[in-house]
C-alpha cells in the first residue's frame, strides 16, 4: 500500500522542505508492539490483585426494590460488595469537568436503572471467577418500568421520562430543546426553487469495539495516594472525574495512561477508573476492573443512533438554494458526550456547500438505550452520510451528474458559511476532480477547470437577511404545544450582515483556573469567581449554538464549534449581534494561601468539583 501525494495541488500554500512533515517515519512505539513489550494498562503485575465485577440491570428501565447479597458475601474469596452508598459523590456528567451540562449519571445506579446493563453494585473478589460467581448469586427484586427506545417517541407527549436532570428527554440548549441554526430564509428559498427534494436517513448505534476492552488497575501507593493504570483516551478527564466522584483531591491520584489498545472514542467515558480506585480505597488492595467483551459491546458507550431529515430546494441547473435539516442524536440514558454531538453537527451544516438559505434544528434526545459517547467524528460522520446520500438524490432529481453537482455547490475560498464564518482553504472541488479521475468518472471541461480558489462573489460572501423563530422552548414539546420538530417559519427578521457574537480565544488565565487549583489541592478564597465574573456563557449572551464556556486550554475533543448565533432568545430583543460581550474579567494572579490542603468545604458541593461552579 502506498500513499500518493498530490503536491501539484495548493503548492503555493505549503512548504515541502520540512524535516519531518511529509516524510515517512517508523512509529516510535512500534518496536514495543512487535516485541510484546508495550505495556498496556493490564500489563502491570501486582501481588494480591483483586478483581472487580459489576452486577448489571437486565431491564431498560426499572426500580431496584431490594438487593439480597448475603449469598455472595458468604462465598469464599469475596472481599467486598460495593454499593451506591460507597460512592462519596455519586452523581456526575463527563462534560461537567469543563462546565457543560448538568450532572445526570451515577457511577452505581440507585434506585433506578435507565438502560440495560447499568450497574447497581460491584463485587471485589480474589479471582475474576469468584467475582463472577458472586455477582450471579446476588438476588435483585426489580420493578420493571415503561421504557422508550426511539428518539421521536421519547419527545412525544406522554413518553416515559428517562433522565431526571432532563425530564423532557431533551438536552437543554438554553432556552431551547434543540440547537437552532438560521441563515437566510429557507421558506423563501423553497418558494423560488424549481424542485424540492426531501428524504429521511438514519443510523444505528456503532460500537467502537477496540481490541483492548475498557479497564483500569488501581493500587494503594504511599502517603494515602493511589496509582491507577488505565487504558483511557482522556487521562485528565478520567483523573478529574475520579476526583469528583470519589470526593478526593486529584493530588492523591497518580494516573498512568497513554498506551491504549484501540479506542476510537470509546475510552473517554471515565467509568472504569473511578470504579478501580474506589475498589482500591475500600479494600486497601490492588484492584482490577476490566470489562469483558460482552460488557464492551453491551454497555460500552457507542456512537449513538442518529436520524436526519433533509429538505432541499434546488434550481434546474443544480444550484441548491435552500436546505432544511432536522436531526436527532440518541444520547441513550445519560448525556456523556452526546450534547456535544448536537453542537458539532450544527457547526458542520449544511455540509461543504454554499447554500444561501439554511435552517436546522438539532436535538439531543434521551432514551433508555446504552448511553452514547464519542466515536471518530461523532456528530459529523453520520450527518455527512445523510448529506452526501442526499446530494446524490438531488443530482438524480435535477438530472445533473452527481460529482458535477458537488463541484457546482462546493464552498469556494471567501464564501460565507451558514454559521457566519468565511470559508478558507477549501478543497472539495479538487477532491472531486481527483476522485473522479481515480474512479474513471468523466467530468466536463468546465468541472475539470474549476478551482476552490476562484468563484466566490459579493453575493456568496454576504450574510443574508435571516428569518428567526422562537419555537421549541424547553418543555413546550412534551406539553404537546408543538406539531413539528422541523424548523418553524420565521416570525422576525435579523438584518442582513448581522454577524452575531464573535467567539474569540479567551486568555489562558481565567477565573475558573482558580477552581482548577482547588482541584489539585489549594484552598480558594471565598470571594473570587462569583457569577458576575464568570466567563461568557450562554445564559447571559444570546447564542443559538450554546457554546460551552470552554477555556482555551480545554482538550481538543471538546472544543466548541466556532459558531455564532442565528437566532435571538427572548431576553435580548434584537439584533442579536448587538449584545455586548461581558468585559473579560480582570486577570489576577492567584497565590494559594494553604498549599496542598485537601480542598475547601462548600455545603452541598464536592470540594473537588472542577470546572464551572453551579
Amino acid at each position: 500500500m502506498s500513499v500518493e501525494f498530490r503536491k501539484d495541488l495548493f503548492a503555493n500554500e505549503r512548504d515541502d522542505n520540512l524535516n519531518e512533515i511529509g516524510k515517512p517515519k517508523i512509529r516510535q512505539d512500534i518496536e514495543g508492539h512487535v516485541t510484546g513489550r508495550t505495556a498496556y494498562y493490564d500489563d502491570h503485575l501486582f501481588d494480591g490483585l483483586l478483581h472487580m465485577r459489576c452486577l448489571r440491570s437486565p431491564h431498560h428501565h426499572a426500580r431496584v426494590r431490594s438487593v439480597e447479597t448475603s449469598a455472595a458475601e458468604e462465598m469464599a474469596g469475596v472481599r467486598r460488595v460495593v454499593r451506591p452508598s460507597d460512592v462519596p459523590n455519586n452523581l456526575n456528567a463527563l462534560l461537567s469537568i469543563i462546565g457543560f451540562g448538568k450532572d445526570d449519571e451515577q457511577l452505581l445506579a440507585e434506585p433506578l436503572v435507565r438502560y440495560k446493563g447499568e450497574p447497581i453494585l460491584a463485587i471485589i473478589a480474589d479471582t475474576e471467577a469468584i467475582a463472577r460467581a458472586a455477582c450471579a448469586a446476588v438476588r435483585v427484586d426489580w420493578e420493571v418500568m415503561p421504557h422508550v427506545l426511539d428518539v421521536e417517541e421519547a419527545i412525544a407527549p406522554g413518553a416515559p421520562s428517562v433522565n431526571p436532570a432532563y425530564p423532557n428527554n431533551t438536552f437543554t440548549y438554553e432556552p431551547y430543546d434543540h440547537v437552532k441554526l438560521r441563515f437566510g430564509d429557507v421558506q423563501k428559498g423553497f418558494a423560488e426553487a424549481d424542485h424540492i427534494v426531501e428524504a429521511e436517513y438514519e443510523m444505528s448505534p456503532i460500537e467502537q469495539a477496540p481490541m483492548e476492552t475498557c479497564g483500569a488497575i488501581a493500587a494503594p501507593e504511599t502517603a494515602e495516594r493511589f496509582v491507577c493504570h488505565t487504558g483511557t483516551q482522556a487521562l485528565f478527564f478520567s483523573l478529574g472525574t475520579t476526583a469528583k466522584l470519589l470526593d478526593t483531591p486529584s493530588s492523591r491520584l497518580h494516573f498512568i495512561g497513554g498506551t491504549v489498545g484501540g479506542g476510537f472514542g470509546g475510552k473517554v467515558d471515565s467509568i472504569v477508573e473511578p470504579m478501580a480506585v474506589l475498589g482500591a480505597m475500600l479494600t486497601g488492595r490492588p484492584v482490577k476492573f476490566q470489562w469483558d467483551r460482552p460488557e464492551e459491546m453491551q454497555v460500552g458507550a457507542p456512537r449513538g443512533a442518529e436520524r436526519w431529515r433533509i429538505k432541499d430546494g434546488v434550481m434546474n441547473d443544480g444550484r441548491i438554494v435552500a436546505r432544511q435539516f432536522t436531526g436527532f442524536f440518541d444520547a441513550g440514558a445519560y448525556t456523556r458526550l452526546s450534547s456535544y454531538a448536537g453542537t458539532k453537527c450544527t457547526g458542520h451544516l449544511p455540509g461543504p456547500y454554499t447554500i444561501p438559505n439554511v435552517a436546522a434544528n438539532t436535538f439531543c434526545v434521551y432514551t433508555n438505550r446504552t448511553p452514547a459517547t464519542a466515536m471518530r467524528g461523532f456528530g459529523i460522520t453520520g450527518v455527512d452520510f445523510a448529506l452526501e446520500c442526499h446530494m446524490d438524490r438531488v443530482a438524480e432529481a435535477v438530472g445533473v451528474d452527481p460529482i458535477s453537482l458537488r463541484i457546482l455547490n462546493s464552498y469556494r475560498d471567501g464564501d460565507m458559511k451558514a454559521h457566519r464564518r468565511v470559508a478558507k482553504n477549501c478543497a472539495l472541488v479538487e477532491c472531486c476532480q481527483v476522485a473522479a479521475g481515480k474512479a474513471g468518472w468523466g467530468l466536463s471541461a468546465d468541472d475539470m477547470a474549476a478551482s476552490s480558489m476562484v468563484g466566490t462573489s459579493a453575493e456568496r460572501a454576504a450574510i443574508p437577511e435571516t428569518a428567526l423563530d422562537q419555537e421549541g422552548r424547553e418543555g413546550e414539546r412534551v406539553a404537546g404545544r408543538l406539531s413539528t420538530t422541523a424548523p418553524a417559519p420565521g416570525t422576525r427578521v435579523l438584518p442582513a450582515g448581522t454577524r452575531g457574537r464573535g467567539m474569540e480565544a479567551v486568555p489562558v488565565q481565567r477565573p475558573d483556573m482558580q477552581i482548577l487549583s482547588e482541584r489539585v489541592g489549594h484552598a480558594v478564597p471565598d470571594k473570587v469567581d462569583e457569577p458576575e465574573a464568570a466567563p461568557p456563557v450562554a445564559a447571559t449572551v444570546p447564542s443559538a449554538i450554546a457554546p460551552p464556556p470552554t477555556p482555551a486550554t480545554a482538550s481538543p475533543p471538546v472544543r466548541p464549534a466556532a459558531a455564532p448565533p442565528a437566532a435571538a432568545p427572548p431576553v435580548v430583543p434584537e439584533p442579536v449581534g448587538a449584545a455586548p460581550l461581558p468585559a473579560p474579567p480582570a486577570e489576577q494572579s492567584y497565590t494559594p494561601d494553604k498549599p496542598f490542603s485537601r480542598g475547601v468545604k462548600r455545603p452541598g458541593v464536592s470540594r473537588f468539583l472542577s470546572g464551572r461552579r453551579r
Binding site: M1, I26, R27, D29, I30, E31, G32, H33, V34, T35, G36, R37, T38, A39, Y40, D42, D43, L45, L49, A76, G77, D126, T127, A129, I130, A209, P210, M211, E212, T213, V260, G261, G262, G263, F264, Q290, D292, R293
Partner: protein, 160 residues
C-alpha cells in the same frame, strides 16, 4: 483458593506456574509466568489477540485449559526475537503493520505458524492464516504485505 502446579517450556525455558481451578492458559502465562505479550481481547475465541503456539501450532490461549499444556512447548511473541528481531517483526515495523499494537502479538504468532510450515505463501494463504485474528485500527492490507515481505526475506536470507 487451591492452586495446581503446571510446568511447560516457554520460549525455550522450563517454566512452572501455579494455576487456579480451570484457569485458562492466557491468564497462566500473563499472571503466572509473567509473559505479558499475549493479550486478552475477548475471552471467547473471536479476536485472536491471545494466540500462542503450542508445539508449533497456533492455539487460542484464552480457551486453552492451563493444566492441559503440561510438558508442552509454548511460544509467544515475547520470545520471538533472538539477538536480532525476527524478520516478521522487522517487516511489521517497517510496513506500519501495527497501530495500537494490541492485535500484533497474536498476528505475529499466526504469521509465524504459517511461515514455519509454508515458506512460500500466496496472498490468499496469508489472509487465511490471519483470518482468526482481528485488527481494528491498522487495517489488514499492511499486515498481509508485511507477512509476505518477511516470507521473502526469510527465503532470501538466513532461512534459504
Amino acid at each position: 483458593m487451591p492452586k495446581t502446579p503446571v510446568t511447560f517450556n516457554l520460549n525455550g525455558a522450563e517454566t512452572g506456574v501455579f494455576v487456579d481451578d480451570a484457569q485458562n492458559l492466557l491468564e497462566a502465562l500473563r499472571r503466572g509466568a509473567g509473559d505479558l505479550s499475549p493479550k486478552f481481547g475477548c475471552g471467547q475465541g473471536t479476536c485472536g489477540a491471545c494466540t500462542v503456539l503450542i508445539d508449533g501450532v497456533p492455539h487460542l490461549s484464552c480457551l486453552t485449559l492451563a493444566e492441559a499444556v503440561s510438558n508442552r512447548n509454548i511460544e509467544t511473541t515475547g520470545g520471538l526475537a533472538g539477538a536480532a528481531l525476527h524478520p516478521l517483526q522487522k517487516a511489521f515495523m517497517e510496513g506500519f503493520a501495527a497501530q495500537c499494537g494490541f492485535c500484533t502479538s497474536g498476528m505475529l504468532m499466526a504469521a509465524k505458524a504459517l511461515l514455519d510450515r509454508n515458506p512460500r505463501p500466496s496472498r490468499e494463504d496469508v489472509i487465511e492464516a490471519i483470518s482468526g485474528n482481528l485488527c481494528r485500527c491498522t487495517g489488514y492490507e499492511p499486515i498481509v504485505d508485511a507477512i509476505l515481505k518477511a516470507a521473502g526475506e526469510m527465503r532470501g536470507g538466513y532461512a534459504a
